[in-house]
Amino acid sequence: MNWLRSLMMPAPGSSYASEVDDLYMLIFWISAFFFLLIAGLLSYFVWRYRRRSADEVTPHISHNFKLEVVWSVIPLIIVVVLFFLGFNSYMNARVGPGEALEIQVRGKRWVWEFEYPDGMRTLNEIYIPVNRPVRFVMSSEDVIHSFYVPSFRVKMDVLPNRYTDLWFHPIEEGVHTMLCAEYCGRGHSDMLAQIHVVSEAKFREWQEQGDERMRTMPLAELGKMLYESRGCATCHSIDGTRREGPTFKGIYGESHAMRDGSTVLVDENYLRESILEPQAKIRSGYEAIMPTFQGLLREREIAALIEFIKAQK
């Protein structure tokens, strides 16, 4: 019945995910049995005891204590067993191994920010080594988010006033999508991150030098990639549509009125300031909600973004 399993669930990314799937399929078969029992009896009764004449007389059967006990106790035993199985595997997921790569996660509308033990920070993208448990310590800067990776069958809310944590143990190299599962507003469904599970060697290489492509890609192209992957696109359009933030279309070289009454020419320095210190100057008519990207972008990446914005005519 593997086809059914792979129809219902995404491919498991860890041994824990397979454990959850086993339980899921067990409940599936128990449910299928009871549903077919109910539907079968129902269909049979409807056909067998259909009304044939208006004055039919039916027997007076008011109750049967033994039957009541049977159909109370059997489901009760089943659900108690399922409770223990579910609790047991849940605790397996809650109690992590002692040694794990620990990554700090900050959720904010509508980006995921990750920080590695060595201080490296990334947005909406992480690399983790295969066959090593990784633990996430999470908090939110604004509303509640939820860290959800379907292929690892893990989910934990990310709260603004306390730390929550979650871990998993990837067993295969590959790319997994992580989603926000707690509704957080306009960009909720765009609050995705990519989890790259790579070999230990590749992981170390990435830690030291960053992504190979990032160092060689032309600036405007890199800028476009960052625009899409780092969450800019959620609030800033490039086609003139008004979203949470000003559109990038034709913005370079324009003069804009600010909230404090001053007027600012959009040039490279203003763009750089707006990326690193977004609260410094707020364009009138917009909310001051953009988070700072200070320390989150390499020098080359800032230049790339500015280049990309300049190219939106």
Binding site: Y49, H60, R186
Partner: protein
């Protein structure tokens, strides 16, 4: 006039006889009425309008989900559409639907009373409902709300949309619900016809009684919680918003402390209708009367102790998660008992597939799926994966729509001849029921797979791999809507006919069938005398 009770009068003559509908005329006679039947009818039209409105939002949401990116509306509009769909359906349709509309009409008739215990409170409850609905309407007109019907903090305390208006509306609706509950409890205790003991009451009354208890005990908590949100927004009191020193998860505890019992406020009356329809159309004594009655009370009781199963991933302690999971599994048992007893009632019956029975059978099938998929969600580790995905969306639609709404439609067909004195078209009822069944399953079966594959709920954009199932689901919603419009069409069409319904069209044994269709203003000419139990279908000599 004694013959009115025993034999149905001829159709033509009856048209001129006074009944609760034609005895007094004019809009004012309706707005100031204290008659439970008229209040029930006013509730009925009101909740049906709410159902239509909530349904339109549902169609918009499904339409938007036809493609992964923007289809017809912006992300903001989409967020408002699903919020209003949920809030309208829950607060304005499902919660008052069966108790306040059908229950108001039928409850006094079923126990042989002239009216509910407090007729003025009953009318007040209706006006509170209207006031609450106006607040909800105002929140829509002045820009809508985008929090989801669950109003989770701190999102709801910081968003700029019209949260205060809608939560005030829900607060007022809560009082309407409490008034109805108090009224029904008093009515059941004090106004039963002489000779009707607790275990001689129709099971519909047991269901409404259990519901009323939850309404009275749980709704105040919702009221206080929603008021706290308004206070938080207006005066920044800092109970839920961490920026002000509050705790957002506290809100979830408060909210689900009401809203989980509220799930049973929604489903218990539905189950209660099924307990009436199945014996009548099987022409057979209900099987396991006491088991069904006690299971309603058991559900009402346990429903207060399971709220934490909405919060397995909220960061609550693992111990709390374990306890709530265990209690959640317990609440499954009384529901299972009911299903098996209904099945046993049909065994060796004389089953007549009239529309109410067709819907009762549909209820059994859909509610079975709704209940069984609840087991996936009660199992902690499986729930962690499925929480906040379309699996949950599908599950509660199977329970709320496949269960409660289908039961509501069953009850509407069942008591329609009594309420309005006209028979609906049985010929149209069957294809409509088939469309509803097909459309419903198309819409929501696909969503179980979507959720299991990791599609989160409340998503405006989605990964392209999910599109085929979303398209299937959206097409299903069109079929479902077509079926529902057909039901609305033939029911309304029947109102244009002269009175043609016999007093007891289905051969029911409960008291409402002993009075005329539609009933006279005071329900019964004389206080009815109980000669048999509510489900005594067999002649005495056939009793074994």
């Amino acid at each position: 006039m004694a013959d009115v009770l025993t034999a149905p009068p001829e159709v033509g003559r009856r048209h001129f006889e006074p009944n609760y509908l034609n005895e007094r005329r004019g809009i004012l006679s309706w707005l100031t009425t204290l008659d439970h039947k008229r209040i029930g009818v006013m509730y009925l039209w009101s909740v049906l309008v709410a159902f239509l409105l909530g349904g339109i939002f549902a169609m918009v949401v499904r339409m938007e989900l036809l493609t992964p990116k923007e289809t017809i509306i912006s992300a903001d509009a989409y967020n408002k559409a699903f919020t209003l769909h949920g809030a309208i359906m829950i607060f304005l349709f499902i919660i008052p639907g069966i108790p306040a509309a059908l229950g108001n009409f039928v409850l006094p008739l079923l126990i042989g009373a002239k009216d509910v215990a407090f007729p003025r409170l009953n009318l007040a409850s209706y006006y509170l409902y209207v006031a609450g609905a106006l607040f909800a309407l105002a929140s829509m007109i002045f820009g809508g709300v985008d929090t989801g019907w669950t109003f989770y903090t701190p999102y709801s305390t910081t968003t700029t949309t019209k949260v205060s208006l809608l939560t005030l509306g829900a607060f007022i609706l809560g009082f309407s619900s409490i008034f109805t509950g108090v009224n029904f409890i008093a009515t059941v205790h004090k106004l039963r016809v002489p000779g009707m003991t607790w275990f001689n009451m129709p099971l519909f009354i047991w269901g409404l009684y259990a519901t009323a208890i939850i309404q009275v005990l749980a709704t105040p908590v919702l009221g206080i919680t929603l008021l706290l949100i308004v206070m938080e927004r207006v005066w920044k009191v800092g109970i839920f918003d961490p920026a002000l020193g509050g705790d957002p998860v506290l809100f979830q505890h408060f909210f689900w402390f009401y809203s989980h019992p509220a799930v049973y406020i929604m489903i218990l009356p539905g189950m209660a209708i099924i307990s009436e329809v199945i014996p009548t159309f099987s022409k057979k004594t209900i099987f396991g009367y006491k088991a069904i009655a006690y299971s309603s009370v058991a559900i009402a009781f346990i429903s207060f102790l399971v709220w934490g199963h909405h919060m397995f991933t909220s960061g609550q302690s693992d111990l709390a998660t374990a306890v709530f999971s265990f209690l959640t599994f317990l609440v499954a048992i009384p529901s299972a008992i009911k299903v098996f007893n209904w099945l046993a009632t049909m065994y060796r019956g004389s089953i007549d597939l009239k529309a109410p029975m067709i819907y009762a059978i549909m209820f059994l099938l859909l509610f079975a799926i709704g209940g069984l998929t609840g087991i996936f969600l009660g199992t902690i580790s499986v729930d962690v994966h499925l929480h906040d995905t379309y699996f949950v969306v599908a599950h509660f639609h199977y329970v709320m729509m496949g269960g409660t709404v289908i039961a509501f439609i069953a009850g509407l067909h069942y008591w329609w001849p009594k309420m309005f004195g006209r028979m609906y078209s049985e010929k149209w009822a069957r294809p409509a029921a088939l469309l509803i069944f097909l459309g419903f399953n198309m819409t929501f079966l696909a969503q179980f797979i979507l959720g299991s594959r990791g599609m989160p709920r409340r998503y405006y954009n989605y990964l392209e791999q999910f599109q085929p199932l979303h398209v299937f689901s959206t097409i299903g919603s069109w079929v479902l809507a077509l079926g529902l419009f057909m039901v609305g069409g033939y029911l309304l069409a029947s109102l244009r006919k002269p009175y043609d319904a016999p007093d007891n069209p289905w051969g029911g044994k409960t008291l409402e069938w002993t009075t005329s269709s539609p009933p006279i203003t005071h329900n019964f000419e004389t206080t009815p005398v109980l000669t048999h139990g509510p489900y005594d279908y067999s002649p005495q000599e056939a009793t074994r």
